[in-house]
């Protein structure tokens, strides 16, 4: 194993632009969607980093970049010291054993024509892990591990509930004993009562197997429960990165503040300020100049419209990109 202080995955300046093409025969690029724009993030071994933001802010795209489902427009991604940002699909294959993904929609992420045993065993077969009998055995262990019965081996995805399907997705991700799992909104498609089950399953597995998670979500209360550190994304950029409790106690970025004020508090007597953001998220095709949050920010001044704030350290492990940081201890 490598140095425990070194990040398991290190992303630097990751950019992903999707071209918008026009034309019948000769397609030319007319614009670009700036889905992910210059994102740096380190994932330390054994930690869970929560990645939150509104729909369309690029958090899923960033996750897919890390696992190289997308090619990067720019930037580097190192996994365990190895640069994987330019590897092609064939070269990526050995690394797939180390990095796996849990998908958002448990109804779309399982092939409806395959038996559960086949779905979970496929990663093993693809990588030629174990003899055929071993695959069978391993699949049954995995089913047990995620709280399903080995008897479910022979069934088809449509015979399961959403929560059970997501467990199948988790079992598939665990099949190759990866070190890093990118969980792309793994519970957002589930009922609230089921969400807790899957979240607890994921954190139990982390304790048992020493996994590292990138936990993508838009639900802050779920993220708070599982994350060690939380990164807040807005329009393709990370605007704040802090340890979980610190972010909830003292958000620095106005966007984080607004997001947190939207989290329901289970106490009817608590009075607090609700910050309602005006307008919609600007188009990622033509992001605003300067600070991308300035058109909706209640603290914005002239500098925000012209100069892009860098992501700077405001406290130990607490980074934010804002010209008018809040809640600073001085």
């Amino acid at each position: 194993m490598s140095d425990p202080a070194a990040p398991l995955m290190r992303a630097r300046g990751v950019r992903k632009y999707f071209p918008i093409k026009r034309g019948v025969v000769f397609q030319r690029e007319v614009a670009r969607v700036h889905a992910v724009d210059d994102v740096d993030l380190d994932l330390m071994p054994g930690e869970t980093v929560g990645l939150v933001g509104e729909s369309g802010c690029g958090k899923s795209t960033f996750g897919r970049c890390l696992i190289r489902l997308h090619d990067l427009t720019d930037g580097t991604i190192e996994f365990d010291g190895q640069d994987i940002s330019t590897l092609d699909r064939k070269q990526m294959r050995p690394l797939r054993r180390e990095i796996q993904m849990v998908f958002q929609d448990p109804y779309a992420s399982l092939n409806p024509r395959k038996r559960v045993g086949t779905i979970i065993g496929d990663p093993l077969r693809i990588h030629g892990v174990g003899a055929r009998g071993d695959v069978n055995k391993r699949v049954q262990e995995l089913l047990e591990l995620v709280g399903l019965s080995p008897e479910h081996y022979n069934r088809y995805p449509h015979e399961f509930s959403g929560g059970q399907r997501q467990r199948i997705g988790v079992a598939r991700a665990l099949a190759l004993s990866p070190r890093l799992i990118i969980a792309d909104e793994p519970v957002s498609a589930l009922d609230v009562s089921i969400q807790a089950q899957v979240v607890n399953l994921l954190s139990d597995l982390q304790d048992d197997l020493g996994l590292t998670y990138l936990f993508i979500a838009h639900d802050l209360s779920v993220v708070r429960h599982v994350s060690d550190r939380i990164a807040v994304m807005y329009l393709g950029k990370i605007v704040e990165l802090a340890p979980a409790e610190e972010l909830y106690d003292r958000p620095i970025h106005p966007y984080s503040e607004a997001l947190l004020s939207a989290v329901p508090v289970p106490d009817p007597d608590v009075e607090r300020e609700r910050i309602v953001l005006q307008g919609d998220v600007p188009s990622p095709i033509t992001p605003p100049s300067g600070c991308r949050f300035h058109p909706r920010c209640r603290y914005a001044t002239d500098i925000c419209t012209t100069t892009e704030p860098p992501l700077v350290k405001h406290a130990e492990q607490h980074l934010a990109a804002c010209h008018h940081p809040l809640n600073l201890r001085s």
Partner: protein, 350 residues
């Protein structure tokens, strides 16, 4: 042996199959089949179609052992026994002028059940033989067409981009021609010289010629829906999941996409067969499909055309067979579609 969940599950180290005794899930295929079997109309239609197939393929048996006739050689001087009297199969024309010859009409005999055609051949036997030809060409060309269409549609849908553009435009060119016009043009050209592609040579009288012509002209009608299905399946998360696991393109195509696309084909196949049988009959009727001495329903209708006033059964019998076949296939095809994909509204256009 592994002990899982307190129960001992015997595991066969050689087989990848799950241990016996576990409840096997019901696959989407099994569910669709169940639904189809419970659809009475569809099952009745299937029974009619299979009946026609079985009877048609028993044509040689009927000709040799029941009617004792050869339906392919002209029998201008043949005689048969009706009500104890020996009569000519081709009788001198009636009326004052006694011009022309009229074949005998339907009889309640073992032979000439549907009468004879203008050459004294047994129409019933010919209709059965013709059915064998028509069904073979219809089913054969539908299957060949489907295979070609799956390859074409899969490549276009999976690889996308320039590949897709080139293939799709190529299909558009074929599509732009009216089906029958294209079929007639190709058939007319190929019938004069046969078809030679490299080492393979197909003579003009071969049944392969109409089969291949019909298969090729219908490729766009099947490849389009296949390509569409591939495009939609390709965007599903389980494809991304397979890529994230390191699956190769071959694995993506055959293990992930094909099983989800094949439903389109299964829905289209009965309707395809109905359409190709119709097309074959049309070409044969125009004498550019099946060539003598082979007969098909279309050629028999052509033979019967000149006897339409005196002996309409010569043309009506194969006509009824075509109608029954196409109708039963369409009803069965609707049932298959309802069972597999109740929302889809796919039809083979012609």
């Amino acid at each position: 042996m592994s002990t899982v969940g307190g129960l001992e599950h015997p595991i066969d180290p050689l087989a990848d199959a799950p241990p016996e005794g576990w409840v096997a899930g019901r696959s989407p295929w099994a569910l669709a089949a169940h639904k189809l079997v419970r659809n009475r109309m569809a099952m009745a239609a299937l029974a009619v179609f299979l009946g026609i197939v079985v009877v048609s393929f028993m044509g040689p048996f009927y000709a040799d052992h029941i009617a004792h006739t050869d339906p392919f050689t002209s029998q201008l001087t043949a005689t048969t026994v009706i009500n104890g009297k020996r009569v000519d199969v081709l009788q001198q024309g009636g009326g004052v002028l006694k011009l022309g010859e009229t074949p005998i009409g339907p009889t309640w005999q073992r032979n000439y059940f549907l009468g004879a055609d203008s050459q004294g051949r047994d129409v019933a036997a010919r209709v059965l033989y013709g059915g064998r030809t028509s069904l073979t060409i219809g089913i054969g060309s539908a299957v060949i067409c489907s295979l070609l269409a799956v390859i074409v549609g899969m490549v276009a849908g999976f690889y996308g981009g320039v590949t897709d553009s080139i293939i799709s435009r190529g299909l558009d060119v074929v599509w732009a021609f009216p089906v029958y016009l294209l079929a007639i043009s190709i058939a007319t050209v190929l019938l004069t010289q046969g078809l030679t592609i490299g080492p393979f040579s197909i003579s003009a009288s071969s049944l392969w010629l109409p089969t291949l012509i019909i298969a090729v002209i219908y490729v766009p009608y099947v490849a389009r829906p296949v390509r569409g299905a591939v495009l939609s399946v390709r965007e599903k998360e389980f494809i991304e999941a397979a890529i994230a696991q390191g699956a190769s393109n071959r694995r993506l195509i055959f293990n992930e996409i094909l099983p989800n696309v094949i439903t389109v084909l299964i829905v289209l196949l009965p309707l395809m067969i109905a359409t190709t049988i119709l097309t074959e009959s049309a070409l044969s009727y125009l004498s550019i499909g099946v060539q003598p001495p082979n007969a098909s329903w279309g050629t028999i209708i052509n033979d019967g055309q000149q006897l339409l006033y005196t002996r309409p059964w010569v043309a009506i019998a194969p006509g009824i067979m075509i109608v029954l076949t196409v109708l039963s296939l369409n009803v069965f095809g609707d049932g298959v579609r309802d069972a597999l994909d109740p929302r889809a509204k796919l039809r083979v256009k012609d």
